[in-house]
Assembly symmetry: D2
């Protein structure tokens, strides 16, 4: 069985909604839901971000950290500044921490490249041991996301590291829930 | 900590969409999602039943059984016959097993009474050991339901009986997910 | 230009939500929105009937009569009785008049046959002179329906009969709004 | 009866999606639906702009002109540039003409002030004679908007200027449809 891939560390130019920068490493011990988005991406505004807000309301903060990654790969002038993003977060009442993905010379920002994302929105789940467990471009329904998050939270209670090492997931992430408990 | 309550056995006058009657006892070893509904209940038609169909699609049948309970407590003439229910299930393309709750003299049918349900729709989760783990009248959002189902499926993988005995749930069921892994 | 077709008179076995039977003839002078439905038709429950309720709220009763036609052409046992329909209307809080289309030997009830409807839901608009102006099987969006109703109401104010005689509509009804004011 | 108020001429700093500037005056002869919005206003993104797009699809362009007015009164840095708006229009596939309301020293742009708008989204209807007939801050349902547009289009066919002069509308606009045909 394939070994789980460590989630690449985020490369962030600027954080909003948090007093201090956040890292995958520092969040060890809880599950992480990271949603990569662009403020001018319709699917992010109508689906990805509201879902992240619902997840933040449904799970306890000691179990699940909800993070936004502003991965701007187009329209840099329109959505590339912290001021524009701050106005957006204010109007949409998004108050979870959001990191602005560090730009690179090629247009695709650094975190987006490190995760080999295909676009926005992308939903990412990282387990309590810092392993990448799910990465999905596009829409993921709430039932499956709820199950996938709970699977990671259950590992915390059961002593995560042992279980994660024997997980059914591979580098593509976990096609939860059908395959994660075969 | 309160002991978990065994889920009362269903008392069914007639089954549809299944070649043989189903029992809580016979389904031991998998989680059960049972949705109590009435075919003329608007909230059941718009929320409860579509959610049960989504759950059936999202989870593997060896992990989760999805069951409908037609708990008619009003308009018995209009929705009380197997023919009426069969027409309804056909039109709404509901193909999971549905049991018609056995009528009683008082108007509230027998299974509905045994579970002390408050109305329809009511969402019920039963664990792999036959214990009642969640009972919710009204709307339950998909993220929380997905998490609650996954929590029960995770118990199967981890050896359910031992864990269930130490569960945080009481006779009210489990206010999953916040409280089930404190 | 084709002459407008008179709307066939409804053939009703039983009326609900009205103290006296209603006829196309007796409603002359106002516009009529008639929605043909079956209580076990999912598209009627989710779209056709809620739209009729919205239309009843949006237009003045002296301008627009909203009528339901229960055109049962399948599952006669399940949805064919006045008791079943009354329970349905009660649960869905539909309080506009509903006529049960008179059954015929062939299964398709008489009004449904007279209008040559293709199924349910079917939306019908009749002008203040009793002419059939629009008949649409399936979904009709609110903007277009609102415009089509207003076009008929406008004719009342302007002296309907003269204008209707020169209307662009033919026996297929009016493809309102684009074509009705060419 | 109160005289109808002429719709104030738009004061636009920059137009997008049109080869030449547009004016209320130049659009005489057709009805105008103008939607005032801000690109970072959630209610505009989820309701006002999609509704304008639906209206553009439902009515013939010779009858109804659909116009956006970008009335930025907050977050000027984030949404105040033509580049930011152009990116937004591109991503949301809005292809009707949009004018950027001319800024003023007080923060509220000039057209917004001239119309005394209360916020965004604001829906505005102007008749074929250039009179302001409806102005609504917030949500307006599709049935009522469809009826209100059709009422104006009907006036065109009937010789608008004469009728408009005797209209039931006052400076608050027309509470269509109930009041416009009393």
């Amino acid at each position: 069985m394939a070994a789980l891939r460590p989630a690449p560390e985020w490369r962030i130019a600027h954080w909003l909604n948090t007093p201090a920068p956040l890292t995958v490493e520092a969040l060890r011990g809880k599950a992480i839901l990271a949603v990569a988005f662009q403020m001018l991406c319709p699917g992010c505004v109508s689906h990805g971000l509201p879902q992240a807000q619902r997840a933040r309301a449904a799970f306890a903060p000691q179990d699940l950290a909800v993070i936004g990654l502003h991965t701007v790969f187009e329209h840099h002038d329109a959505q590339g500044t912290p001021q524009a993003l701050a106005a957006f977060l204010h109007e949409y009442r998004i108050d979870f921490p959001v990191g602005i993905d560090a730009p690179s010379d090629e247009g695709i920002p650094q975190t987006m490249r490190a995760y080999q994302m295909q676009g926005t929105p992308t939903t990412i789940l990282i387990d309590c041991a810092g392993k990448l467990r799910l990465q999905k471009f596009g829409h993921l329904d709430d039932l499956r996301l709820g199950a996938a998050i709970q699977a990671l939270i259950g590992e915390i209670a059961n002593g995560a590291r042992g279980r994660a090492a024997e997980g059914a997931c591979d580098e593509q992430g976990c096609p939860i829930p059908q395959d994660s408990h075969a």
